[in-house]
């Protein structure tokens, strides 16, 4: 009995002490199969946070809804036959549901970056690496805030890491947001390397990219407030980048077209991109464009492509109203060279019926009016489709007015020609000569028939032509540095300097590889302008030529306070609906609905 008591008490005592100690341990959590926020407090976490934001950027630039927000509802673009989010194109019933996605993404990223910046200060890292990480984070935070403030005006401004859920938030004045953006970019540009440096390879943020964005921020704020010092800052910084372009490894290609050759995607003219690749893990690529890649797929090449395989019947004809009606078998099938037709957005070639521009088309008679000396129209648009399937058209075939029987030779015969001038006899005759394919001159253009934008085409898709593009989406291109400088000089009253900057861009666009040196020189001379030519509209037209389809136009028009004016003048589909308040996008309704603590979250005026 006694013996047992002894054993018992000893056991009890030992186990009691053991358990008291182990209790505390037992209630600690050590997750192993998920990444928890505290992981940020490590070098890999900080780097991963920055990479996560880059990944989110690629879920916006290159995707459908976002692309439409950047170019639709402007003087440059109209809706294609299969456009989604029509309100973005015509402002009819435009509401918050069209913008929600990237508002959420932007703030997810901002909070992630706030976490990176908080932990990045304290973790154990070599100083140079820390400097680089923090500079990246500051650049990216400014990048998102700059987009937010341009689209929405006053927005919530968070610069510390939020870890506790809150159902309250408020909008901060635009001035405060700009001040933070300028602070972040100033600091980032001081610490970022001149050229892409491991681990931020490719064309991630560098010093000139931060400076470029800073110049643009000053320019934008200058327009907003009319402050001369901002314009001065803008041209000072922009011209500084041009001065040091060799240091930064940046320059213009001699040929405008070379800027869009896949081989040059990471070349000297490219400043900042969102990357894609065919790697199934890191590029999130799936053959067939499956859903696994989610929103992070580059579908850019396809939005601007008309339905050439389905709507190019060889015996298409004009009906009584002069409208092109599809008829007969097409001699085009979908392939990688001509791209997957999404028919979302078309160049604005609407014939203006009345007003100062009556009888004009924005595309041909305003932006690209000089298509002889300026190579940019030819480098931007696809005009010719070579037959890629053999068909025979009999003279007796319904709708064949050519009077001949013939067979198309794939790879040789032109199946479709979309010329930029009127052709008599179109669609089946070139003048009086029977044309084996069809001709679609501007008078037959519609939301179904239009020239495709070819800058972003990705022929490397091969047989998997429905796969997304693996080319990077070029967000900033070096020629914009000249254009920013030009605009800033112009606003600062320095028209000569502005003309010089514009000429740098224009003279380059005169270059064609097919021309002789003399022809190129002559063209360059013809395109050269003087100080007196520099007007706001000229600058905007120049931007249209230079950046057609490159995610710039809507913001360009908003910045220069030209949206209402230019859309009213040139966009007959949007003109009836656009109102002054449309210079800001609506705040997402979910944001408004979900702020249930504290003051209500106000919507932008007009929505």
């Amino acid at each position: 009995m006694k013996r047992y008591h002894k054993i018992l008490y000893t056991t009890l005592l030992i186990s009691a002490t053991m358990f008291m100690n182990s209790c505390k341990k037992l209630l600690e959590e050590h997750p192993q199969s998920s990444i928890v926020p505290s992981f940020f407090n490590s070098p890999a976490g900080v780097l991963g946070g920055i990479s996560g934001v880059y990944n989110d950027i690629r879920s916006a630039w290159g995707t459908e809804g976002f692309s439409a927000q950047m170019v639709a509802g402007t003087d440059e673009h109209l809706a294609g036959a299969s456009a989604s989010s029509l309100p973005l194109y015509n402002y009819n019933g435009l509401n918050s549901s069209t913008v929600e996605g990237w508002w959420n993404t932007a703030y997810t990223d901002i909070n992630t970056l706030n976490g990176v910046l908080q932990y990045g200060q304290s973790i154990d890292l070599p100083d140079a690496t820390r400097k680089q990480y923090l500079a990246q984070a500051k650049f990216l935070r400014a990048f998102w805030y700059f987009n937010l403030v341009q689209f929405f005006g006053d927005v919530p401004l968070h610069i510390t890491f939020i870890t506790a859920p809150s159902q309250a938030d408020s909008r901060q004045p635009v001035a405060d947001v700009y001040a933070q953006i300028i602070k972040d970019l100033t600091e980032a540009s001081a610490d970022l390397p001149n050229t892409p440096t491991d681990p931020f390879l490719g064309k991630a943020a560098t010093k000139p990219v931060a400076l470029y964005l800073l110049a643009k921020v000053y320019l934008t704020r200058g327009w907003l407030n009319g402050t001369q010092t901002d314009f001065q800052q803008a041209w000072t910084i922009a011209s500084g980048i041009i001065t040091n372009k060799a240091t930064y490894g940046l320059d213009l290609w001699a040929d405008y077209g070379d800027a869009f050759v896949p081989a040059n995607d990471y070349g000297k003219e490219t400043m900042f991109v969102s990357d894609h690749s065919s790697d199934p893990k890191y590029g999130q690529y799936t053959v067939g464009g499956g859903a696994a890649g989610g929103g992070a797929q580059n579908l850019t090449p396809w939005f601007y492509i008309w339905n050439y395989p389905s709507n190019s019947g060889i015996n298409s004809n004009k009906n009584g109203s002069g409208v092109l009606v599809n008829s007969g078998t097409s001699d085009m099938i979908r392939d990688a060279a001509n791209g997957r037709p999404f028919i979302r957005t078309r160049p604005n070639s609407a014939l203006i019926a009345s007003g100062v521009n009556a009888g004009k088309r924005y595309l041909l008679d305003q932006a690209f009016v000089n298509r002889v000396n300026d190579s940019r129209y030819d480098n931007t648009f696809q005009k010719v489709w070579i037959s890629n399937t053999a068909i025979t058209n009999t003279a007796a075939a319904a709708g064949n007015t050519r009077g001949i029987t013939y067979t198309m030779t794939p790879g040789v015969d032109t199946a479709i020609w979309i010329p930029d001038t009127e052709i008599t006899g179109a669609p089946q005759f070139n003048g009086t000569t029977p044309f084996k394919g069809i001709i679609i001159p501007p008078s037959l253009w519609s939301n179904t028939y239009f020239p495709s934008v070819k800058k972003f085409m990705d022929p490397s898709r091969g047989a998997n032509f429905n796969d997304p593009s693996t080319r990077p989406v070029v967000i900033y291109r070096f020629s914009d540095v000249y254009m920013i400088a030009a605009e800033a000089y112009f606003k600062d009253g320095k028209l000569t300097e502005a003309a010089n900057m514009l000429n740098a861009v224009r003279q380059r666009s005169a270059f064609r590889k097919t021309n002789t040196a003399a022809q190129n020189t002559a063209a360059a001379t013809a395109l050269t302008i003087t100080a007196s030519d520099v007007t706001l509209d000229f600058i905007l037209d120049e931007r249209s030529r230079e950046f057609f389809g490159e995610w710039q136009r809507w913001l360009d028009l908003v910045r220069t306070k030209s949206l209402l004016n230019r859309v009213t003048l040139w966009n007959p589909e949007a003109a009836p609906n656009i109102k002054p308040f449309h210079v800001l996008r609506p705040i997402p309704q979910t944001q408004i609905d979900r702020v249930v603590e504290g003051p209500a979250f106000p919507q932008n005026t007009g929505y």
Binding site: M1, Y4, H5, L8, L12, S15, F19, L26, L27, E28, E29, P31, S33, S34, V36, P37, F40, G45, G48, S51, G52, Y54, N55, R58, W103, N104, Y107, T108, D109, I110, T112, G115, P156, H158, I162, T163, A164, P165, S166, Q167, A168, D169, P196, D198, P199, F200, L201, G202, K203, Y266, D275, H276, K281, Y282, Q284, T590, Q591, D593, V595, F601
Partner: protein, 1070 residues
Amino acid sequence: MKLLLMRQSEKKTQTMLRLLSMILAFSVSAALTVIVPTNSLYAQTQKRTVKGHVSNEKGEAINGASVLIKGTATGVNTDAKGDYSIAVVGNSVLVISYVGYDAQEIRITAGMSSADVKLRLNDKELDQVIVIGYGTQRKKDVTGSVVSIKGETLREVPSPNLIAQLKGRTAGVDIVSNSATPGGSGQIRIRGNRTITSSSGSSDALDGPLLVVDGIPFGGSINDIAPDDVSSMEILKDASATAIYGARGAGGVILISTKRGRTGKAVLSYDAFHGISSVLGKYNVMNGADYSQFKTDAANYNRSNWPTSAGTSSYLLTQAEKDALAAGVSTDWQDLIYQNGFTTSHQIGLSGGSDGTQYGLSGGYYNETGIIPNQRFERYSLRSTIDHRVSKYVKIGLNTINTLSYSNTPGGGGVPSGLMRLTPLASPYNTDGTVNINPAIGSIDAATVSPLTLITKNASILARNRRLRSFNSLYGEVQIMDGLKYRLNVGLDYSQSNGNGYNGPLTYTNSATVQSSSNASVSNTESWSYNIQHIVSYNKVFNQKHRLDLTGLFEVTKDHSQSSGFNVTGVPADYIQSSNFGLASGQPTVSAGSFSESGLVSYMGRANYGYDNRYLLTATVRVDGSSNLSPGYQYFTYPAFAVGWNIANEKFMKSVNFVSTLKLRGGWGISGNRNVGAYATLGALTASTYNFGQSTSGNQLAYTVTSLANKSLTWQSTSQTNIGVDFGLLKNRITGSVEVYKQQTKDILLSVNLPASNGAGSTLKNLGKTEGSGIEVNLSSLNIQTRTGFTWSTDLNFYFNREKITQLTTEAEKENKGNGWFVGQPLSVIYDVRKIGIWQLSDSAKGLLAAQTSPLQYPGQIRAQDLNGDGKIDANDRQVLGNFQPQWEGGITNRFSYKGFDMSIVIFARMGMKVLVPYLTADGGAQGYPFYNQGRVNQLRTDYWTRTNATDAFPAPDAGTDRLLFGSTLGYQDGSFIKCRSINLGYEIPASVLKKTGISSFHFYVNVTNPFIIYAPFVRDGFGPDPEGNGYGGSVAAAGSDAGVPSRQISVNANNPSQRQFTIGVNVKF
């Protein structure tokens, strides 16, 4: 009620009973051939007379007591003085019995001429000791709602697991089948659902009961316990009983006690059964001719571009089908695939012991094959227990349960849906006798591979899960002083499962034709947990009137689980299956791995006080601390108290003779749910990837903050009040209980949307509230006990539960349509437009059809109610159409015994609720795929509309659409049923016969499980073989709106139909 209902399907019943009696007659005659020669050995002994006196516990004579020679029909009754006289032969056993008293047996040995007997009042029911949480208690002292069920009772229904055996057996325990693949157990709910959730998985985890085996919490599969190893099961239903399980008790607690050794001679036992199972019924699909007509009708009523579309269809009969129709081919694919399943169970046990040491050993084998080829569940079990008294004061014991189980379920539950839709106009075999591999050749479904490949290519399909489980409990008990005991319980549980899958090309599960499209998978899950309990108890009776029982507990639990999985394509040859990924042509890919550990630290105190066996008081408090919650929020307290009043023991009741026992109980308590998962309060980053540039050196892992953790999360908790009455009437010939309860659950986790500008879209908060209440009645009665030895007893239960949501995220939020949650409604409801018939030609003539402006409809289509009268049928016309909560449920078990024969019949009912039947709907996708669908595939035979059949039941088929307008409304049917769960007929060979065989008892039986359905409108209307359920969710969404029923809901899918099983078994003891 029961008799009334039985009459309704008398015919069916009689057929079944006739069949049963034939089987019985055969078995009995077989048995007799064994018995007769043995019996003749004893016939030679001489006859003599035995006399005696029978008295009750007070010594008073019992008049009319039955005195029977065991194993015979010979017997007499005692006279008014309690005396009897009976002639016996040789060594016989007399059975003396009287209503309300325990029967007694007396062995009459040679030379014995008299035997006096004192019968004891039968208060077995109320004097028995039952298991409660962390201890035992006399049943008469219990104040909570506790039901005790014996292992023998459960074994009346041969099943792979306890849950399946428990179905329909006790009030308040609702078990509904959710799968008919081998090893399926069913969904179990005690007193309804409490948690607002949309997933069936989390509903099971949060609303299902806690299982405790031999005192140790038992997670994981109930299939890991062989039912033969169970001696009893106690179900704790109300919070005053479950609060001592704190954060795990809200769903009720099932305490399972396994058999242990007993002092005495070693007993060797052998229990075995063998069964044949077949489908309860087939899905009633169209034959070849009907199918052809259906396609024609679908073309005729093509409304896509009416009227020009009339008569057109992309899915008319193919040439091969036309030829088959002309040749009279009509293949019933279900007949070709459904096969008989076989069930085998063997269990050998040895138990015995001396005063100091008791032991028990058992080994079992269970094998069940399904009605779908190659589907099986197999279990090997090995168990041993030892209890040893080291000294007067110290006792230790160990119980180890080890199981190895294999399940192989190629095709899973979903094979029948493929059988239903495959064209009947195709021969299953080619003329040379080989399988027609693509029976739908020439049609759009040409790639479909014949289901016969499930049989012919069985080596090319694998879906196997191997599970190894070792569940061990160890205890040590020390008697410190009189009444004071310390007990240490240690539970160690380890399980490992290993999944292997393979789908070869050109098999039913893989329609690809090339080997490179074969796919294989492997997965591994390892779990372990330990549980350590220190229990100090003090138990004493003071002054003979004050009974005090104190219990203190300190407990720690740790659970661990970890899993990984890999997939690969391009296995070069079928025989390799999943064995060597290295040989495959594809790169292995990873399925997300998981890791989870959680700890629980608990303290509990309980006091039971009883005064004079009349007044009872129980108070408990439990504190649980959990690692799943954030520091500062980790501990939660669960109080409970209950009182009881044994009214029958009051003086004033002494004169009320017909009441033998009467107890009033009342209790209140709080118990919880571990609704916050491990690591949920830490938050998680969304993991992704990015490539900086296009060379691999720029590849980076990427993370963003997408959800914000709520550190203040706490457990969901349920407070429950329970009032119950236990009674025994007519000397406990009728016993029973009635319970009334009401429960309120709060702090249910709901996702709250956050303004995105705060960096994340949502967070979890403890916001939801629900309520439930119900009544439960359990009755047992001894209806007839004759002196000839015939007894008839009945166990009856009746209950209902009413649950409702009382709050969503805010007071103002009255509905969450997306998830199907509505304040004031049960937790799963149907929210859809109401079908009020089919648009008839006459409606069109009357202009009714034209009055509906949207959508444009035609005669023959479903007519929905325009709730708001705006002439349009849209999402605004949706309404709550019903729910899945039965109006009442009940079960009745009748037992008959006569001499050595015993018979039990179990019947149970669930009445007055809807059932969701996705295969009667159509959405063009996976959910309603077989139905209508452009007239593309074969269908269930339905009463559908045509110009000459103006029915309101089913719409006309339409070759122009794969989703019928308002087709979702067809999926809500009456799910009521009354079913016979089992009929069991057994015979115990008399001890006298077995005497010299070395066998101490020999019982054999025949059983039929799920013999027939007594009442089910669903079956009557031809919608399917069984309304009970065999899957989850699958609700079809009306175009442009949310699914009509939450996906957590059990539904009747086109899955394996339920089965009827005939079993023959023996129980032998040596």
